[in-house]
Symmetry: C2
Subunit: 455 residues, 2 copies
């Protein structure tokens, strides 16, 4: 126990996990099945095959297989940017004067700048294996689109990204990274698709929405032979791929006999949180160990803390299957002054069920408090964090300060999902004292939830 | 020799070098001394003390001490982002089909995004040690200003950055990173200084130049008690601090018994190149080993390949000491279509002398060829390289392709100095096919050189 902990704990390359862990296999209460929008029947693999690669459709519906071998080609790609380090935040601890030991799993050390690459490379691989020409997707802020572009470049797949028009125009650098990786990036709504043309006609001058971009990407995938649609969060397959985060983090901490008392992750659709906590929750589900797990969401988009656990559409356009999840209603859109990601109306069915069963807590934080924590972290730990990741930083700091009061030497682990190089418009607002907070009223949330389908 | 080389060779934290190496100590032909502009007498420490910290002034003039202990506080900071990896470019090799083994030392894995942090933290440390309030500097593209802001935040020093006005306006994100680290960033020419007011009066609406920003930063340092001026390249002290790059690279390769046949670095003022090659050149100077070393400069700013080895001013404003160096004349400014950094008119006196003595070769490359290499590298190795670093990538690829022709299994090491997150305007130009090349005529260079002082 008294072995000195380095600043950065790197696994050796041969210690990178060789299997993903499917937490659903250990859940007694399985996540509720996806339902067909029309008939409300549970979806089968063949229902998903026109949209997803076959192998990914199987992963999506598999809630019994605990481990999936990671294909060699993906393990090869991992070596470009994995293992990612678990960092002991010595400098932050010192600045806080806390007896707590703070660790973070840093997933931003790759050009896409976030953990999204872990699932992008897996989804691109299975598309390549199936002999497809390419994949389509949507992107908002651009982390997922960038990750997917990198992954497709590696496998020589075509990559068509529908980027919400307002982001396309306001985030030209994100767009250029994707183009540098060979992706075609189209502002959405476009004139390339039926749904895009329809929306442009109905709402001339619209700057688009994620819901519309999803609809366009799905339409293009379904209509073009050799293409499938891919998605970067929410889905069970994504959490499966992202389990690499938690598996590596656990292996690194185990090396030094460190057991985290508190595990903290930011939560939008649940891809990072679900991935980080999977092996730890697995131990809890099997009765082997206890951890305190905290999901942190923005006060402006509080699906776990203020949403309802019901069946809802996964997209604003209501073309996707129905999922049972904590949701604010598929029409819910965070206020325009909300700066970071984490703007999804719902939460991964897996995370939702675990939360409902009491395996994790949830809390929400205001964005000015988030950026205050981000700036302190940048100055002490030398990494400019993404606004998303900074939600977890905020709560890690708060918990560490509680330890200062009580004198407890707790081990705190949080997920630092990515870097903020492309979020400097938001940092500028904060630096200029012009960032505002928004907390939806109960009435707003109730009105949005009232539109959920009755199932 | 047949031991398998991992993708990334990381030293352990206790293997990070504990001393910087001063290559001047092993040079038989020392770099020519800095001269006072008026009298042409060699400068002494006391002449430099009003501008530089005392300890840095000593380092600047010391050409006999081979090793300097790295202070504990700097070693502590190093652990935030060092050791940086030596990466075996397996994916690039595969894409090229070359038998060569390509390695790169990656210095971009810190928030400042480049190797500049290595000297920034050292210079900030000595300022703090001397009890100063803060430091001043200039920045053009912003890599150095960002690095210095991070270093000053760590030591609680005030940091005043004069940023060339055109960059201040065109690179708001760079500016915001510096502000997030607590630096004050002023567009230059400003109305805060005599020289700034004078230039604004003479040239209304000017967008500034590096030469002017240097003059402003020096003026503010000299006039404000408790402040000194710091610089990110060219100087002997900077190359001393940057020797950490070469020392780590050599230690990592030695671990696997890899001897580089060719060592390649991009060259602007010489900070990265000088740091990377120091320990290798040291072996050559001591007659222990032979390497082929290649300095790569932009065709639009070719100081080594087309300049003259004479005494010249270090700045455009002609307020600094005179240095003997390969120079294009202190009034030389690369064409406006030049995208990346590496725009300094001269070259570190140390690198200049080594080049003059035949220890290294130099070559120049066109920027469209540089971005072609950058894009290939991004797609195969997954890192979006800075345009500066991509000069070295270009020549590494060219040398690897020669190995393909000859079948030679050479070991190629190059310096990947930083990432290109803030250079996406240039990438966009390249992606859109709108990037142009510029090669100065002999007449242009001769006219600029004619203005060098006659010494």
């Amino acid at each position: 126990m008294s072995q000195e902990i380095p600043y950065k704990i790197y696994l050796n390359e041969n210690e990178i996990p060789k299997q993903w862990y499917n937490v659903r296999a250990d859940m007694k209460n399985k996540p509720a099945p996806l339902l067909k929008p029309g008939t409300h029947e549970p979806l089968k693999v063949e229902d998903l095959e026109p949209i997803f690669c076959t192998e990914l459709a199987k992963q999506e519906l598999d809630d019994t297989t605990p481990y999936f071998d990671i294909p060699d080609e993906i393990k090869g790609f991992y070596k470009m940017y994995r293992p990612s380090p678990v960092v002991r935040a010595y400098c932050l601890e010192k600045a806080l004067g806390t007896p707590a030991h703070i660790y973070y799993k840093f997933e931003g050390n790759n050009t896409s700048g976030s953990h999204k690459l872990n699932s992008a490379i897996a989804q691109a691989y299975y598309a390549k294996q199936q002999g497809l020409k390419g994949v389509t997707t949507e992107t908002g802020a651009g982390q997922w689109g960038t990750a997917l572009s990198m992954a497709c470049a590696y496998f020589g797949l075509d990559c068509k990204v529908y980027m919400v028009k307002v982001s396309y125009e306001q985030k030209p650098f994100r767009r250029e990274v994707m183009r540098t990786y060979g992706a075609s990036v189209t502002p959405s709504p476009s004139m390339d698709t039926d749904i895009g043309r329809k929306i442009n006609e109905e709402f001339p001058g619209t700057t688009g929405s994620l819901g519309c971009a999803i609809s366009e990407a799905v339409e293009v995938a379904v209509k073009n032979p050799g293409y499938r649609y891919v998605l970067g969060s929410v889905l069970g397959q994504v959490l499966l791929h992202q389990s690499i985060i938690g598996l590596e983090a656990k292996a690194a901490l185990d090396k030094y006999n460190v057991k985290p008392d508190i595990i903290i992750g930011c939560a939008g659709g649940g891809s990072n949180l679900g991935g980080l906590i999977s092996p730890f929750v697995g131990q809890m589900l099997r009765g082997e160990e206890k951890y305190r797990i905290i999901a942190v969401e923005p006060a402006s988009c509080p699906s776990l803390t203020r949403g309802k656990y019901v069946y809802d559409f996964c997209d604003t356009g209501k073309v996707t299957p129905l999922a049972k999840m904590y949701t604010l209603g598929s029409g819910y859109i965070p206020a325009p002054n909300h700066a970071g990601g984490l703007r999804y109306h719902g939460m991964s069915s897996i995370v939702s069920q675990l939360y409902d069963d009491g395996y994790l807590e949830a809390t929400s934080v205001k964005q000015t408090d988030v950026f205050e924590a981000a700036e302190m972290f940048a100055r002490t730990e030398g990494i400019l964090p993404a606004p998303e990741s900074s939600h977890a930083i905020r709560v890690a700091i708060d918990e560490a300060m509680k330890c200062k009061e009580t004198g407890e030497e707790k081990n705190i682990l949080f997920g630092l999902t990515g870097t903020g190089y492309f979020d400097l418009v938001a940092y500028q607002k904060y630096n200029d004292g012009q960032m505002e907070d928004y907390i939806p009223t109960d009435e707003e949330i109730a009105a949005s939830l009232a539109k959920c389908p009755k199932i």
